[in-house]
Amino acid sequence: MADLPKHDSPGQVLDLNLHILDRQVLDNHDVPIGHVDNVEVDGIEPGRELDPDAPPVVTSLVLNSGLWPRMFGGRPPRSRMHLVPWSAVSAIGTAIELGQPGSAFDVTWSEHWIRDQVIARIPGGRHVPE
């Protein structure tokens, strides 16, 4: 199949499964905030005939929404997903970099909860190791 013609698209070409899913997501200070579990795409209505002149665009990345559906299929309802809008993404390489601090996204709630309820209460928890 090596003789198939090659299609060239302008800009950075990415395969969502290959380059986006399961990649580490970093905030604007390079702090890890999650992994990509799913991608939301706008402009496809199931079953309807598609418009060849209006290709869909990626609207959001879905972070840490549970490994169970990833392993066994299905997906949680949209309201229970941690969404990061595509407009917040600043670069895609070996990790996906965001242009905002992690606290701007609700996926970090468990980090903040454990910090406030447990770690910060232990003496020395707010100090840099020496």
Binding site: L4, V13, D15, V39, P55
Partner: protein, 107 residues
């Protein structure tokens, strides 16, 4: 719609089954947004068999270490790219328009 609703769905052409959706190809280009331009769908990568995971050997130019790369290339032989304009509808199955073109799935 989510990526997980499309991945691994069967793909049907005018003359019968073509394979399964292995990936969605997008291109980041066009009007620059706040940080990164929109990611527009280019098309779907169709593979003859429904298999997961090629350790990243799929469609890239990485070809070493040779025994591993050859093993995985053999397992995914026959995959191709269908452009968005050739896709008729997406539901439980993906339908491809008559007269569609098979493009190379290589990146």
């Amino acid at each position: 719609m989510f990526l997980s609703d499309v991945l691994r769905r069967p793909v049907v052409g005018p003359d019968g089954p073509l394979g399964f959706v292995a990936d969605c190809r997008v291109a980041v280009d066009g009007t620059p947004g706040q940080l990164l331009a929109n990611a527009q769908l280019v098309g779907l990568v169709v593979a003859p068999r429904n298999r997961q995971g090629f350790l990243g050997y799929e469609r890239t130019s990485v070809s070493s270490p040779a025994p591993l790369a050859q093993w995985y290339e053999r397992r995914q032989r026959g995959s191709f790219l269908v452009l968005w304009e050739d896709i008729e509808s997406i539901d439980d199955v993906v339908r491809v328009r008559p007269g569609y073109t098979r493009w190379s799935s290589a990146l």
